[in-house]
Amino acid sequence: MQKTLWKGNEAIAEAAIRAGCRAYFGYPITPQNEIPEYMSWRMPEAGGVFLQAESEIAAINMVYGASAAGTRAMTSSSSPGISLKQEGISYLAGAELPAVIVNMMRGGPGLGTIQASQADYFQATRGAGHGDARMIVLAPGNVQEAVDLVQEAFDLADLYRMPVTLLADGMIGQMMEPIIFREMQGRTLPPKDWAARGRAQDGQTHFITSLRLDAPDNELFNLALQEKYKQIAQDEVRYENLGCEGADILIVAYGTTARICLSAIRLLKLEGIKAGLFRPISVWPYPYDALRELALQDCVKAVLTVEMSAGQMLEDVRLAVLGVRPTPFFGRMGGMVPQTQEIAQQVRLILKEAIR
């Protein structure tokens, strides 16, 4: 199959169409604008619905409506817009509705900047808006992987009836790379017999709601949600291990940062330093067990986390490593990208410290 050159945002939009998404609702915000722009002409061509909403809040609620009626629906935004969508995301989780949300993260806080960042990790992985809810969060490392994860994101959303976020940094949205749209297998999914599209469908009335005013009833629902999340934590963990076996040091990074770390690792290899890359692909559920196992190797002196944030995934790395190895951190913030040399220098210093 021939590779073609695609910008990340447009590739993700096309992948969504190919994954059967038939409703897109969005609102302009940089650096994800090519998604609504592409969808505006491509979605009608595919027989679906494109609508530019009046706000991110309206967009996520349009997704909620389309999904409640049984349509594969998505929205996309970037950090400040995702904050606005959090209300709707919590309602999606509470009503157990599938949806795909793309977050092309930019530097914050507040309006921040339009350059790439990974500072929404806490927001994405620690919940789904208010309440004890979760999103499945997939973090692609390049444009090809972003494209491949889109089909999976929709399938996971439908399978578990919950919001799934594709968490990418602005770099992945803006970058052009040669990619292939693979024939995706797709999962076998249950019928959407819960959808509210008129009781003529099956003779039953359907009431999609997140309201459970009776506290014991609401607790039972929450317990069921947690059971579902436990199952997901068991079955849906994804990560990449590049040379972690026998490594002197593990570098943990995701998204664009992981790619820069890989360049640093190649550089260090020339100096005889063996650094491995552990790259989480699902950041919720997080690959705690796999990382812990690799960190426990006798040869591993430290586990370095590198992020475009002040150290957010670092908390998960520490939860995985549980103090058995030092867990230093290196990060750049506010739209700045870590440089290969900076990372390599961190590794050299950490190993020097460890040997002394």
Partner: protein
């Protein structure tokens, strides 16, 4: 020989409603149910209910329902109607929901001419949360957050939604009705039926504002509350048709 002259609408489920004595929600539900039945769309329709007292509308009306976040019903309805144009869609919103937190959603849905029907129940107060001031609370009206009565310098003036939304080209039909006596009730039913009929013809957004009571939070008896709608509320919120594309209004 006995003859059935009145039967419970098939558009209503056979359950007891939770509404307070003298509240008009039950009447409005019944009118919608009867219209759905008469238009033979109960089995196809999808209702969107709000946050507030009528959050349980889906437990009472015998059609599919989706409960929306506070104020977001027009966006949710847009999502349903755009992806399923054949489904008759109606929202059911209160005044805090539609005229305060959901102002942007209703204005833009109307502006786009979204082909669903809004049933806006205006009782000039936040009911479920305990009687706080609403955007439609009348000047002088005492609520739990305007205890000396609403006054203009502090709170601004109440908003007339039917008039406001009728300025938009996307609005096909807008009428303000009430249900405080039999003539107004019959008029309200006719208005709801017309709104849903126009929706089925795919003409544009249709909007029915229903002046309604909240005896509990107004500190009135049911009879006093109905009388207050007639004597006071309908003075500031006049009943009537504000937009009707059929007659070029």
């Amino acid at each position: 020989m006995s003859q059935i002259v009145y039967a419970r609408s098939q558009g209503l489920k056979d359950v007891e409603m939770h509404y307070c004595p003298g509240c008009h929600h039950g009447i409005v539900h019944k009118l919608i149910a009867e219209v759905l039945e008469e238009l033979e769309i109960t089995a196809r329709a999808v209702g969107i209910c709000p946050v507030g007292c009528s959050v349980y509308a889906g437990n009472y009306l015998n059609c599919d329902f989706i409960e929306a976040a506070h104020g977001r019903a027009p966006a949710v309805a847009t999502g349903v109607k755009r992806t399923h144009p054949d489904i008759p869609v109606f929202t059911y919103q209160g005044d805090g929901d539609l005229a305060s937190i959901g102002m942007a959603e209703i204005v833009h849905a109307t502006m786009r001419g979204e082909k669903f029907t809004t049933i806006f129940v205006n009782n000039a107060v936040y009911g479920m949360t305990g009687g706080q001031m609403a955007p439609t609370t009348l000047v002088g009206q005492k609520t739990s957050t305007s205890q000396q009565g609403r006054n203009q310098p502090q709170h601004g003036l109440p908003v007339r939604m039917a008039e406001l939304l009728s300025t938009m080209d996307g609005m096909a039909f807008a009428q303000r009705v009430a249900v405080y006596d039999i003539p107004t009730l019959l008029q309200a039913k006719k208005a709801i039926k017309k709104a849903l009929t126009l929706q089925l013809q795919g003409i544009g957004h249709t909007f029915i504002e229903v002046l309604s009571t909240c005896p509990t939070n107004w500190n009135m008896s049911p009879v006093e509350a109905s009388a207050w709608v007639k004597s006071t509320m309908s003075q500031y919120y006049p009943l009537g048709v504000f937009k009707d594309v059929e007659v070029g209004k």
